[in-house]
Structure formats: structure tokens, C-alpha cells
């Protein structure tokens, strides 16, 4: 026995049931994989096109999340202004919003007759139902993941190191570059990985705002949904690919989150 456990048996039993509920569907899916045809199925022209499009758009969306999410997290964690709480709630809204609603909102913003889309149309730029639309939809739903994890990390490291840096003569940008960002780098990395995973799995907003054109807007989740009707074996094989990517991503994010200076030793 390794010390006092203190967990009632019925709690352990419920926990086991819960774990089973997560694992069992995955196992059921893997049991249905047509291994003989697996490689041809995932390397068919439409599968490869969807996979490459997904990777490309998700990477682009992750880059946008970093470019805009880092400043947003900094402002939310460090600045103090009126309406800050409201702003934070709004920024995190895509987390709880049904993605299809996000897609509709994007459509009325960047669509041909949308708020901004109309002006863009005049300039000859069409966003809706293009690869750009996929990236925007993915960024919209993935951004809160990065902002949330980075804001928490910024609050945890606090401003003491930054204050020391300032009294040593470092200007705000130097402090950000040489102190703040290195200190929260593990959280930035895990936030970026989570955003990438969310972007990779994006379905509802993409379908609504970008449609499903092979090679242009049909990402892997859309391809899986489409294939489910005509070729269940392809759908299962591609699902497995997404599961493997997700497992790698979660493992990576966990690794990044548990290293670094936030856990212990930060006060020395």
C-alpha cells in the first residue's frame, strides 16, 4: 500500500465507468478499421487533399492565434481598464458558442454582403468559401484556447521579474522579449498546440462559412463526414488519423505544460 488513498469504492467505480465511456468508443472505432485497405484509403487523392489542407490551414490559424492571442493575453493579464471583465468574457465566447453560430457570425462579417465583406468585395477580395475563410473560422474558435492558457500563466509568474528587469534599465519591449515571454514560453507552447488541435478538429464554423470544396475548403473533418455516407471504411481510417494526431498533440501539450518555471523554483 502506498499511503492513505481515501477514495471510497463507489467513487472509484464511477471514475472507471467514466473512463470506459471515453475509451470504449475509440476502441469500437479502431475495431472497425479495415487494416487491409488502410493505407490506400488514407492516401486516396481526396483524403490526401483534405489532410494537407487541414494541416496548412491549422498551422496558419495557429500562427494567427499566436500573433493576436499573445497581445490579447498580455492586455487581459497586465493592463487594468474599464470593461476588462466584459472583454474577457467576449473573447472567451467562442469556447462555449456552438461553432455553427460562429460560422454564421463570420458569414455576416466577411461574407459577400457582410459587414466588412461588402467593402472587401469592392476591392476584389472574396473571403467566404475560400481557404482564407477556413483559416478565419479555425482562428475564431481556437483563439480563446491560447488566450486562456497564456493569461493564466502570465498571472502565475506575476510582475516581480518584470519589475526587476525594468529597474535594471530594460524598456517594456526588452522586458517582454527577454523576461516575460521566456518565462511563459511553456504555456505559450501548450496554448499554441491546443489551438492547433482545436483548429484541426474544426467542423461547424468551417462548413457554414467556408463550405466544402475539395482542395479548397474541405478539411479532414468535413471529408470524414462526407465519406461516412459513401465509404464508411475511409471515414473510419481518416478518423483514426485524427485520433493519432490528437493523442500526439495532447501528449505534447501536457509535456510542455508540466515543464518550465511555473512549477516550483520560480521564487528563487
Amino acid at each position: 500500500m502506498a499511503g492513505f488513498g481515501g477514495i471510497p469504492r463507489w467513487v472509484a467505480a464511477l471514475a472507471a465507468l467514466g473512463a470506459l465511456f471515453v475509451v470504449l468508443p475509440l476502441a469500437a472505432m479502431i475495431a472497425r478499421v479495415n487494416w487491409a485497405e488502410f493505407v490506400p484509403l488514407i492516401t486516396s487523392e481526396s483524403s490526401v487533399a483534405a489532410l494537407l489542407l487541414s494541416l496548412r490551414t491549422s498551422l496558419a490559424a495557429t500562427a494567427l492565434c499566436v500573433v493576436f492571442g499573445v497581445p490579447m493575453a498580455l492586455v487581459l493579464a497586465r493592463a487594468r481598464f474599464r470593461g476588462q471583465k466584459v472583454l474577457r468574457a467576449l473573447v472567451l465566447l467562442p469556447l462555449v458558442l456552438p461553432p455553427v453560430v460562429g460560422g454564421i457570425a463570420l458569414l455576416y462579417t466577411f461574407g459577400r454582403r457582410g459587414l466588412i465583406g461588402q467593402s472587401l468585395e469592392v476591392l476584389g477580395v472574396t473571403i467566404a468559401f475560400s481557404t482564407t475563410a477556413v483559416v478565419l473560422a479555425q482562428t475564431f474558435v481556437a483563439l480563446p484556447f491560447l488566450v486562456l492558457s497564456l493569461e493564466g500563466a502570465l498571472r502565475t509568474v506575476g510582475t516581480r521579474y518584470e519589475a526587476v528587469g525594468a529597474t535594471l534599465g530594460a524598456g517594456p519591449t526588452t522586458v517582454l522579449r527577454r523576461i516575460t515571454l521566456p518565462l511563459v514560453f511553456p504555456a505559450l507552447l501548450s496554448g499554441a498546440v491546443l489551438s492547433f488541435a482545436r483548429a484541426l478538429g474544426e467542423f461547424g464554423a468551417t462548413l457554414t462559412f467556408a463550405g466544402s470544396l475539395q482542395g479548397t475548403t474541405r478539411t479532414l473533418p468535413l471529408e470524414i463526414y462526407l465519406q461516412r455516407e459513401t465509404s464508411p471504411d475511409t471515414a473510419v481510417a481518416l478518423s483514426l488519423v485524427l485520433v493519432v494526431v490528437a493523442v500526439i498533440v495532447v501528449g505534447f501539450a501536457h509535456q510542455a505544460g508540466s515543464s518550465g518555471y511555473l512549477r516550483g523554483g520560480a521564487s528563487r
Binding site: 525594468a166 529597474t167 534599465g169 528563487r268
Partner: protein, 356 residues
């Protein structure tokens, strides 16, 4: 470098002004919440005052009337905190090189400067370590080197030894005495030894205001307020100067030695070291001694002695003596001490500058 400082922060009840002369080290003493950290943060630029003006060598640090406020990084003032706060992601050498790098010095030149400063604090052998691999004393040495490497015009130290092991504090204190010798610095401390070792002058703060100030020895050896008397380990008595000593508020006249001239009849303060005071249950027979009645309020073991506290006086007795007298809270006792043990000087209403 000359600092001139005057600031108010309303919600902390902070309102005071002082100057620091070139090369001078000023110790700031005071109970918790007196405003010591606020003072440092205002000087460093980490807190904005509601009103006031401060200049360093004539350059404005803040001037609320003119709406001016200099950001911390352009003030040339570095701060050393209780925790070393070394940047955990940088090596010791890069930590020390941080200041020069921020000032625009090239990496190689900054590193060579960092080595010089590490040598200055006897820590050159730690250059390649990570902060997590250092002991508290080592980390504080590096923090001193890092603060000095930015070549500040004024150095602020916020209880630099408070988080250190008693075994390493003396070495750090010696090192600080050396580096502060001809630098301008403000040291916040709770430790009277720090004040004696490092400071030319002390400010005593209470509730956001200066309640006592002057040369270190003068303030601590002739305390005029209870807080400094407590820090210096002296019992403070106040009353009126008489020809032979002091007439206390309770009507008892004590004989003492005037350590500075105070005219007879003027308010005066006097102090006595607890180790010079004897305790007995009955009135001491020796009429040449000062004798005072009191009621025991507290007994505090201090190593091989017990400090007996009453309202006005404290005495140090051996544990055997304390047991023999069966002392407890509320025991009525007599205190006795020779006239030579009582120093008499001007009280807090007498500005130190007028006492000659």
C-alpha cells in the same frame, strides 16, 4: 548623485520627504505597514504618487504638478529585493549581463562586464550555473552583482538579508558594506545591525510619515521614540530634565548622565540598557541606585537570559534569578540601576539639529 524626494499616496496614508546626499547610504526603519516598501517603489517608479516631486541629480523622477513621470527603466535606479529574483531562464552570467545588455552594450562586452561584477562579489565560479542550482546566499550575491552591473546612480535594497540563513548573512553584510561604501543607497531593514553596518543616516517611518531621523548612532543610541528604543534594545523613559537626571511622568526622579546638553526643565528622554537593570521583590537597600516600582507584564526567554518587561522598564535576569523570584505576569517588583547606566538627552520634540 543627489536624490530629493517628496511624495504623498493617499490610500496608503503616505506623506513624507527626504534627501539622499552623494555617496550616502540611508537606512529606512519602521514597523510593518509603515510605508517602507512604498517609499522604495515610489523612488524606483513602480508606484505612482498622488502628489509630489522627486529629482535625481536634477532630473525629474516624478512631478505631479507638471504631470511628469519617468518610467523605471530610464531612472538609473536599481532595486534589490528580499528574494534575489534571478531570472530563472538565464544563467548567472546572463543575469548579471542583463543590465548592460539592456543599456545597449554588445553581448560580448556585457558578458565581460558581468564577469567583473561577479568577481566583485566573489562569485565568479558560479557564472555558468542556473539560478535553481544556487543557495539563497549565493543567489543574493548574484542579485547584488546584477544590480551593480546596471551601474545605477542610486541603489535600493529592500530587506536584502531578511530571507537569508543566519549563517550566510554576515558574509553578505560585509560584502554589501564594501560595495555600498561610496555609493548612494537606500536600505530598508528590520535589523539594527544592518543599519549600523551599512548606513550613515537612518529614517524611522511610522504610518507613512518620518517620525525620527538622524545619524545612525545618534538615532539608535539615543532613541526618542518607543519603536527605535525597541529596535536598539533599550528602555525609553520620558519626562523633564532636572539638574541630576530626569523627572519621570510618574513623579519619580532618576539620576543619570546627560549625553547631550538639555536645559533643566525642558522635556527630555532617557534610556537604559536592560542588562544594567536588577530586579528584586523588595525595595533595594542601596540608596545610590535609581529605584523604580513596576509590575511584570511579560517574560521573554532570550538565550541564557530572561527579559522581564514592565510598563516603563525592562531588565535582563538569569533564568535562575527569575525562578528564585517566582516572576509571573502581574508580579509587583522593584527595578534598580546605577545612575551611570541612564543616558539623558533631548526628547522627540527637540529636533536633532538643535541639539548640540
Amino acid at each position: 548623485m543627489t536624490l530629493s524626494f517628496d511624495a504623498r499616496v493617499a490610500d496608503r496614508g503616505f506623506d513624507l520627504s527626504f534627501d539622499v546626499a552623494p555617496g550616502e547610504t540611508v537606512a529606512v526603519l519602521g514597523p510593518n505597514g509603515a510605508g517602507k516598501s512604498t517609499l522604495l517603489n515610489l523612488v524606483a517608479g513602480l508606484v505612482r504618487p498622488d502628489a509630489g516631486r522627486a529629482t535625481l541629480d536634477g532630473e525629474v523622477l516624478f512631478d505631479t504638478a507638471a504631470g511628469a513621470f519617468a518610467a523605471p527603466h530610464i531612472r538609473g535606479i536599481s532595486m534589490l529585493a528580499q528574494d534575489a529574483l534571478l531570472f530563472p531562464h538565464l544563467s548567472v552570467l546572463e543575469n548579471v549581463a542583463f543590465g548592460p545588455r539592456s543599456a545597449g552594450v554588445r553581448a560580448s562586452a556585457a558578458r565581460s562586464a558581468a564577469r567583473d561584477w561577479l568577481a566583485e562579489v566573489d562569485a565568479l565560479d558560479l557564472a555558468d550555473r542556473r539560478p535553481a542550482q544556487l543557495s539563497g546566499g549565493q543567489a543574493q550575491r548574484i542579485a547584488v552583482a546584477r544590480a551593480l552591473a546596471s551601474e545605477p546612480r542610486l541603489l535600493l535594497l529592500d530587506e536584502p538579508m531578511a530571507a537569508l540563513d543566519v549563517s550566510v548573512a554576515p558574509a553578505i553584510r560585509r560584502m554589501l558594506r564594501r560595495v555600498l561604501e561610496d555609493r548612494a543607497a537606500i536600505v530598508v531593514t528590520h535589523d539594527i545591525l544592518d543599519a549600523f553596518t551599512l548606513a550613515d543616516r537612518v529614517l524611522v517611518l511610522a504610518d507613512g510619515a518620518i517620525v525620527d531621523e538622524g545619524a545612525t548612532r545618534e538615532v539608535l543610541e539615543r532613541p526618542r521614540i518607543r519603536f527605535t528604543a525597541g529596535l536598539a534594545g533599550l528602555s525609553l523613559l520620558t519626562g523633564v530634565r532636572t539638574a541630576s537626571g530626569l523627572l519621570g511622568g510618574d513623579g519619580v526622579e532618576l539620576r543619570g548622565v546627560a549625553v547631550e546638553p538639555v536645559s533643566v526643565g525642558a522635556p527630555a528622554a532617557a534610556s537604559v540598557r536592560p542588562s544594567a537593570v536588577e530586579v528584586s521583590l523588595t525595595a533595594p537597600a542601596d540608596g545610590t541606585l535609581n529605584r523604580l516600582r513596576g509590575t511584570v507584564r511579560d517574560l521573554e526567554p532570550r538565550g541564557d537570559l530572561v527579559r522581564v518587561r514592565a510598563e516603563a522598564l525592562s531588565a535582563d535576569v538569569t533564568p535562575a534569578r527569575a525562578a528564585e523570584l517566582d516572576l509571573a505576569d502581574g508580579t509587583p517588583v522593584w527595578f534598580a540601576f546605577p545612575p551611570g547606566a541612564l543616558s539623558v538627552y533631548g526628547d522627540v520634540s527637540t529636533p536633532p539639529s538643535l541639539v548640540e
